[in-house]
């Protein structure tokens, strides 16, 4: 046996165990100093982030202070802080108010229609664009459908009102060709929802298709080539490759959409509705607007707004959880 300088087996094992600790002490910095290094290295990124943070603080977080009036008997003379607490009284008022209940129902109905028709529209549009092979034709068609997005809602509403006008509108002109009497579309409650949802699709479907077109562009082209060699036709490729490939994008957009379910496009409703159509057209936001700003019931309006926000929050959380559970896709 050679002994000499060779360490005994025991000591060799010990030194192996030693090493990680020594490394730990020498090379692992404290959390604070790592954070400091991180900021020092990446400060430009945080500077760029700053305006967004400020925007959120000023326009979204600071107003939350005022949210407390939903639980107070608020008067502008006493101010937010000095108005007395009244608990859930405003919420009781709200839920015993037929108009509010109607606004909630209308919101949900319009949103459901929007989800049913408005959500698939840009996806279908994107899939259709994807099938256009002629480049110039494709670009022209895309530009045309993007355009309404860039037109202000006021003008959109003006176009819609003109188009559906009983005297000069194109719709009634066409109806007239068939010898039928003109229909007063915008004053009849049963027409409001189809017109509103249709207008929304016309205005936003084209622009909304960009996200899906981008997702389609990201699909590996050799998937299609492989499918062509395997004998798939264009229809099969759309169903078996394109749609499954953009499914994560579709789900993300759906989650966002569900989070916005209580946010029916306020401007467009205001512009298109009419006391005669309140029955189907009045939504939570427009009701809040009339109660708060027009009738001065700020505290009641705040309670309604808060209710809206809580519902939206619950919905988006639920959608996200379901999506993560069933498709491994989620916003966060």
């Amino acid at each position: 046996m050679v002994q000499g300088n060779t360490p005994a087996p025991g000591s060799a094992i010990e030194s192996v165990e030693d090493t990680p600790d020594t490394l730990h002490d020498t090379f692992t910095d404290s959390r604070g100093s790592r954070l400091y290094d991180h900021f020092k290295r990446e400060w430009q990124i945080y500077v760029m982030l700053l305006p967004t943070i400020v925007w959120f603080l000023v326009f979204l977080y600071k107003p939350m202070y005022g949210l407390q009036i939903a639980f107070k008997d608020y008067s502008i003379f006493r101010g937010v802080a000095n108005s007395p607490w009244i608990g859930l009284e405003h919420f009781e008022t709200l839920f015993s108010n037929d108009q509010f209940i109607r606004a909630v129902t209308n919101t949900i109905k319009i949103s459901a229609l929007n989800l049913l028709f408005g959500f698939p529209a840009p996806i279908i549009l994107a899939l259709m664009f994807n099938e256009i092979l002629h480049a110039t034709y494709k670009k022209t068609a895309q530009t045309i459908v993007y355009l309404p997005h860039f037109i202000s809602s006021v003008i959109i509403a003006g176009i819609v009102i003109t188009a559906f006008s009983p005297t000069a509108g194109i719709v009634n002109t066409i109806i007239g060709w068939f010898g039928l009497d003109p229909v007063y579309f915008l004053t009849q409650p049963q027409w409001f929802r189809p017109i509103f949802v249709g207008t929304g699709i016309w205005q936003e479907a084209g622009f909304g298709s960009i996200v899906f077109l981008a997702a389609i562009a990201g699909v590996n082209p050799s998937l299609y080539e492989s499918a062509v060699v395997d004998g798939a036709n264009r229809w099969q490729m759309m169903w078996k490759i394109t749609i499954p490939s953009i499914l994560p994008t579709i789900l993300i957009m759906l989650i966002i959409r569900i989070g916005n379910i209580m946010e029916v496009s306020f401007e467009l409703v205001i512009l298109l509705y009419h006391p005669a159509t309140y029955e189907t057209a009045d939504v939570v936001n427009t009701w809040v607007y009339r109660q708060g700003l027009q009738s001065g019931q700020y505290d009641l309006a705040a309670a309604a707004g808060l209710f809206n926000a809580v519902v939206a929050f619950v919905l988006v959380m639920t959608a996200n959880t379901l999506s993560r559970r069933f498709s491994q896709t989620s916003l966060w």
Partner: protein, 358 residues
């Protein structure tokens, strides 16, 4: 007869012609490798055979049928892509079944086919996995499986191994060879790796700049390259090529004369390129050898052999030498010996190989 026959195949993108009239006959069950530098038109040629690119001019026949205007799906070919082209949302079994379902094969038959092929490729335990959860080698196998289940007349491979690391590539190369021996399907394989070409091919097609330089078995191409391009492309390291002038008894490169027979009659003075394979030189003089004085620059040991990088006259040359377990003896080398029968000669202007006359 599931041969593939290309005659006068041309591909042009607008005014730019990238494949200039290729003629090639691939026999049934043959494994043909298209090899050449990047951008020489290998993929384009393969994609024309698959039907993914239109053929500008010429005739493509598969199994005796003209295929120019036949849709890819009706050509009965299967293609393996460089990036595997696996459907990320389908598991291994569904990926392999894709083409069969499109062709409306009965369910039970699909199941047995997939099970058989998975068995051959060692994928039986992975059938439920998504491509994202597989290693590179496994993905490659799935891509092969997807081609195999179709039982096509012709397999087309476009650099199927180039995304794998060196070790896996060697392993998969052997697997492809074995698979071909077993299935016996006519295969056309594109690569830019000359080792892959040498090891896999029944015949190699060396392409350059949209045209075929030479077609032949690996050993034919290695031993009798038709021109300097092929000589420089096959073999690792490539053949040393040096400018020289023919003399009565051989050729002169700079001040050094290399002796060989067969070219001398009446051609003395002709400009030639002398080709010497790195592995053909010896460190000791033998019969019919000529000495090359070299200035040794660098010795790269590879284990059993070493590469000698050196200067010979105005040329940089590389030679191979046995290490015999040690590279000490190589550091002092000042001369190597070339055996006359192994020397290659090419015309200095055209680059065409010159054959010994009498």
């Amino acid at each position: 007869m599931s041969g593939v026959n290309l005659s006068g195949i041309v591909k042009a993108y607008g005014a730019v012609e990238v494949v200039h009239g290729i003629n090639l006959d691939v026999a049934e069950k043959e494994f043909v490798v298209l090899v050449g530098p990047s951008g020489c038109g290998k993929s384009t040629t393969l994609r024309m055979i698959a039907g993914l690119e239109e053929i500008t001019a010429g005739n493509l026949m598969i199994d005796g049928r003209r295929m120019n205007r036949i849709a890819p799906k009706d050509r009965d070919v299967a293609m393996v892509f460089q990036n595997y082209a696996l459907y990320p949302h389908l598991n291994v079994a569904d990926n392999m079944a894709f083409g069969l379902r499109i062709r409306k094969m009965p369910k039970a038959e699909i199941a047995t086919t997939i099970a058989d092929v998975a068995e051959i490729l060692g994928l039986t335990n992975y059938l439920e996995r998504r491509p994202a959860d597989l290693s590179g080698g496994q993905r490659q196998r799935v891509a092969m499986g997807r081609a195999i289940v179709r039982h096509p007349k012709v397999f087309l491979f476009d650099e199927p191994l180039s995304n794998l690391d060196a070790k896996l590539r060697t392993q998969m190369r052997a697997e492809i060879k074995r698979l071909h021996n077993r299935l016996g399907v006519t295969s056309i394989y594109v690569t830019h790796d000359q080792v892959e070409a040498m090891t896999l091919a029944d015949r190699i097609v060396v392409m350059n700049d949209g045209a075929i330089e030479q077609v032949g078995t690996p050993m034919e191409l290695f031993n009798h390259p038709a021109n300097t391009f092929v000589a420089g492309f096959l073999g690792s390291p490539p053949m040393n090529q040096m400018k020289g002038v023919l003399t009565e008894h051989g050729a002169k490169i700079g001040d050094t004369e290399i002796k060989f027979d067969g070219f001398a009659n009446g051609q003395a003075g002709r400009d030639v390129i002398v080709g010497i394979r790195p592995e053909h030189v010896t460190l000791a003089a033998g019969e019919q050898t000529s000495a090359l004085p070299i200035e040794l620059d660098l010795v790269e040991p590879l284990g059993s052999e070493a590469l000698l990088h050196a200067r010979f006259g105005n040329d940089n040359v590389v030679f191979k030498a046995d290490t015999k377990g040690d590279i000490q003896h190589l550091s002092g080398v000042g001369e190597v010996y070339v055996p006359a029968p192994l020397i290659k000669l090419f015309d200095a202007e055209t680059g065409h190989a010159l054959n010994a006359k009498g």
